[in-house]
Symmetry: C2
């Protein structure tokens, strides 16, 4: 497994692989790899000839006062995990390599970046889109893999890829969960013991929503009300940023379920103590 | 010479050329080709194996009330001229092909897009950068050719290419002028007979600035004052948007010439009647 820090070196390694006709799979990460990332890596290894993983805590997607400085990382451990899965290349730039002095270009993602998490993290998806664009240009993969836990991110990246006519297939892989239902996330390690115990409440409330729809409930405001009051009953829940029902493709807000609806996204962002967690489920009709 | 309207077809034609190892040159245009465009095409034909020209009047770089609807075009004539120069591919999409319903991604170019022409045409360079990005992704050329008449555009495109790590060389070619010094532009055909006769005043004032510096003048405010009052003396000059001295790389405003300065950009935008013309010259020290 090669490890490169420079964009130039990354491009030259990949150029050689592409000249041999290798299909490149790419998994962008912020490091601190867990089973969620590994599921993406495994899919990439299975479907592509060579797999590149980027490990880069992207400063432009963090707002002021967010957890950029304390974001967890363990580069050596990440490399060992990636190598074991068959990754061929780790791209591990520093911030100055990605955003040198005078840097000024950003990707504006429009309306889908202003709702849900975008409403509470202004500029977040602009930063995400920009770094993903840069990484796609550097790696130039055939396929790039994203986890469904960050559902809104996938919608925005797909929109960008389509709008800017990029030749890459965006693959989404299912959320990987702990045994108690908590979606895997590097941020889970911020949780105290008590918070960790309460954190599956996001998954439980989303599951409750799925269950209510399965039983015939069609009033999404009613389901939402029940979910939010259930969340707020927990002492560990400090704030509910949103608990929304959305069109899974356009992210348009859904108030009621129509006869023509086939899938609805239920998504939530909740503060457990000082940690902001997100989760979502697709409700199939 | 192939003519294609669809992004998909354009990509597939170019894919075949690239598989044969052809180096692709690209000249983006809004049509209505003149000797300025042809100089770019000739450079591309000389330096590359296959040349693609796009003809697309990009709506996103026009502001409300600007000349989008009356922008001149003559597609058949453009094709004949391009073919004669050895162009292999014309890409001629319509607006719906480039910006389909639901389109939402734009390239933010930051500060260099807010000065000079950007101050008077808000959103212009955002539209330019976005369409250039899309075209570069569609054509994926080795080299793309831009005319120095649109100097600020070149700076912004180069900045974008560097920031987003694109693998394309941006080549700038000298401004082509009419015998009386007027920089060639599709917009020159908007000019009435009297306006056309007065239009070389932009070039004359830029040349005067070059001459004053050559004679030892170092106070750029003084040169500017003289140029602007010269411009305003003409009955055909309706407004001077700017007459600026700038760093040719960063576009930073220059007030005085320093001993370390090697080149200074003199650039102007002037309304001749109802037509906005731009021009620039590099002052070599």
């Amino acid at each position: 497994m090669k490890i490169v820090n420079k964009i130039k070196d990354c491009k030259s390694v990949l150029k050689k692989l592409k000249e041999k006709g290798r299909r490149i799979g790419f998994v962008p990460t912020m490091g601190c790899l867990h089973e969620g990332h590994l599921s993406l890596v495994r899919a990439a290894v299975k479907e592509c000839d060579s797999v590149a993983v980027s490990i880069f805590v992207n400063p432009t997607q963090f707002g002021p006062g967010e957890d950029l400085d304390k974001y967890p990382g363990n580069f050596e451990r990440d490399c060992m995990m990636a190598e074991k899965e068959g990754v061929g290349l780790i791209f591990h730039p520093d911030a100055a390599e990605m955003y040198p002095p005078g840097y000024g270009t950003f990707i504006e993602v429009g309306q889908p970046g202003t709702i849900m998490c975008g409403q509470f993290r202004p500029g977040h998806f602009r930063g995400v889109a920009t770094v993903v664009m840069k990484l796609l240009d550097i790696i130039s993969p055939d396929r790039a893999y994203f986890g469904e836990k960050d559902y809104q991110q996938i919608v925005i990246v797909k929109r960008m890829v389509e709008d800017l006519n990029l030749d890459v297939e965006i693959i989404n892989c299912p959320t990987v969960r702990e045994k108690d239902g908590l979606a895997m996330s590097s941020r889970n390690r911020y949780l105290s013991r008590g918070e960790r115990k309460s954190a599956p409440i996001l998954h439980r409330c989303l599951s409750m929503a799925v269950g209510m729809v399965a039983k015939g409930e069609r009033d999404l405001a009613k389901i939402r009300g029940k979910a939010v009051s259930e969340l707020k009953r927990s002492d560990f829940v400090k704030r509910v940023d949103y608990f929304d029902f959305r069109d899974p493709v356009t992210l348009e807000k859904k108030k009621v379920i129509k006869g023509t609806d086939k899938k609805i996204l239920a998504a939530t962002a909740v503060w457990i103590g000082g940690t902001r967690l997100i989760d979502n489920m697709i409700i199939k009709l």
